[in-house]
Symmetry: C2
Subunit: 373 residues, 2 copies
């Protein structure tokens, strides 16, 4: 059996951690009888700085031939924040309509959590983040003075609703940003969460702020309620996003599957990463079940460690396990996760986890463990 997978190392430590991940996946393939044909893509800050290209039409055409992308990290000190994130990472998520961002929040054996008195059995849930709508659609504008007719219309609306006055604002400088939720968009993410809950503990928590952002999240709640009706054996609850950050810290054992719109998903999955031991241990999948999905560590590119062989590859290797699951190689996926757990218990880890091993050493160790665990 052969699988074709695209690989984007990206910036900073990206290429090193992806190299480690590939080695582990290839080794799992030897044990479980499959073979990965990797195709490397040169996408990231270096190319952008040399050519001005972020994600080209050609990149998209080529990437669309794969059903999985293995992604390292992007971000570079020489480029203004937002350019690479929006031009590459978000562009891939949107172009390939990767409508679910899947984030396991799981405290592995032997990992330290910053929470007092919580153990692995207390921290084991999954966040399904809607990944194509909400405030991530990139619609907004910013202006100074009273130049832009269209902007002024929006502003006038805002001020008339807010102050009950139909007058022009006298704000000298103003920006607005629009979020959008569609029934279709919310529904497919929420349905994904319920299907997942059916295979887990049968509980789904919706996270929103429908008491204040009532238009977008009012629709979200209605869709949630409609989808839930089709899963009578799944327990449901609504949480406000502010409250949920408290419960993640105080009672993570309450959660099974959490589903949430894009922006709140961004926030609570980072909090989730921290309670499971930090960014060094947090993978994510960007899923389009019928198209091209992408698997990545959720941490950044840590430019200052580039080329030093010191970065922790575990989040990337774990993302590799998710990638294998996506390819249907479930046994191999489980073996990769078991190898990660074994290496942690053995103390065979990088500096950030209190060890003394190099990125490449951890990769090699995991590649050998995965043959026997």
């Amino acid at each position: 059996m052969q699988h074709r997978v695209a690989a984007i190392g990206g910036d900073g430590i990206g290429p090193e951690i992806v190299a480690a991940g590939k080695e582990v996946i290839d080794s799992a393939g030897e044990r479980y009888g499959f073979d990965i044909a990797w195709t490397d893509f040169d996408i990231g800050a270096d190319r952008y700085l040399a050519t001005g290209e972020l994600l080209t039409e050609e990149d998209i055409a080529e990437l669309s031939k794969f059903n999985a992308i293995y992604f390292g990290a992007i971000g570079d000190d020489r480029v203004k924040p937002g350019i690479l994130e929006k031009g590459i990472l978000l562009a891939i998520r949107f172009h390939f309509d990767q409508f679910v961002n899947l984030r396991p929040i799981k405290l592995l054996d032997g990992v330290a959590t910053p929470l007092a008195n919580k153990r692995p059995e207390d921290i084991d849930f999954v966040v399904v983040r809607e990944n194509t709508e909400d405030f991530y659609v990139g619609i907004g504008s910013r202006f100074a003075g009273k130049r832009e007719k269209k902007t002024l219309d929006v502003v006038r609306d805002i001020y008339s609703v807010r102050f009950g006055l139909d007058v022009e604002t006298d704000a000298e400088e103003l920006a607005y940003q629009i979020g959008v939720v569609t029934r279709e968009g919310a529904e497919r993410a929420i349905r994904y969460a319920f299907d997942l809950a059916e295979r887990r503990e049968k509980k789904v928590t919706s996270v929103d702020k429908a008491n204040v952002l009532s238009d977008v999240y009012g629709l979200w709640r209605d869709v949630f309620t409609d989808v839930a009706a089709g899963y009578p054996d799944v327990a449901t609850e609504f949480n406000f996003v502010d409250a949920v950050t408290m419960w993640f810290v105080k009672n993570p054992e309450w959660f099974d599957v959490v589903v949430t719109p894009n922006m709140f998903g961004d926030i609570i999955t980072d909090l989730g990463a921290m309670i499971q031991g930090g960014l060094g241990l947090a993978p994510g999948g960007n899923i389009n079940p019928k198209g091209t999905s992408m698997f990545e560590p959720i941490h950044g590119s840590a430019p200052k460690y580039r080329g030093q062989d010191v970065a922790n590859p575990l989040a990337t290797v774990w993302a590799g396990s998710m990638l294998l699951d996506h390819l249907g190689e479930h046994e191999a996926a489980a073996a990769v996760l078991a190898a990660i757990e074994r290496s942690i218990l053995d103390g065979y880890v990088t500096r950030d986890m209190g060890g003394a091993k190099k990125t490449s050493e951890v990769g090699r160790y995991l590649a050998s463990l995965v043959k026997t665990v």
Copy 2:
């Protein structure tokens, strides 16, 4: 010296905790030589259910005669989420232009935090939440089908930017929500944060998501940079909101003053409440330095404990300490906080904090402590 203060007990446990708070404040007044003339307002769910009134013109006219409001809580099981919050709490914040929501995050001696290895000296910072703009302006719409011309224009914009196509969406049902940031609005909150930092550890952290919501938070960052130039002795940093939730949990000792737009402020102040021991210990001030300010516990109305004399009054009493600070009664404010700390060390607390005392008993105890601490 006499101060006139408005009091709104509100719903659920609100009236009981405000009664306890008044008793403590009055007692501090006896010691420090001032007197509070309280005026009670009947605003909340009961009146709404009886008359349909939320915050009336008359309420506003009367409240505007005070420069401080002592607020309990609103929220009731018989009313749909959002109605009372928007119609009363947010309406007061907006009407009186209370542009700063001030939230001390401080772990008191003797209080248990859910974080491992953190002590009172590690958790002591303040969040300045901008309180009148951002996604709280309440502008949005929701529609099914293709009925509303104006909405469709917005939708068309969204889709043309997102997909590079100038076509109508075929989404059957859609909602959008607009956030707005003005230079003026951002500036006054950010300036408040810098002034506060001058009197503390001289460090301000801005929390935003300028790499994705670049219009509103790009403006926010520019304003922050401009204001910072006027405070050369204050250290500054930018954090993304997703990352900051991690650092609140992992390294709360890094923070001194945190300033952030409204919606992210809502989220991170609840997380802050949890690390300082939970909602039972989290007060907030809604500040307009030249108008009517409002002080409240940040927890809700807990309708099921209404009238049972079991609610923890400490957050409300602490809000009373903030109110006294606002009135210029700084010694009395400090004494109230010291009394809270003393009662906790004495174990004279309500059930939720592991004690056995009633709301009214804790109030009476604090009222006596405040005379001597």
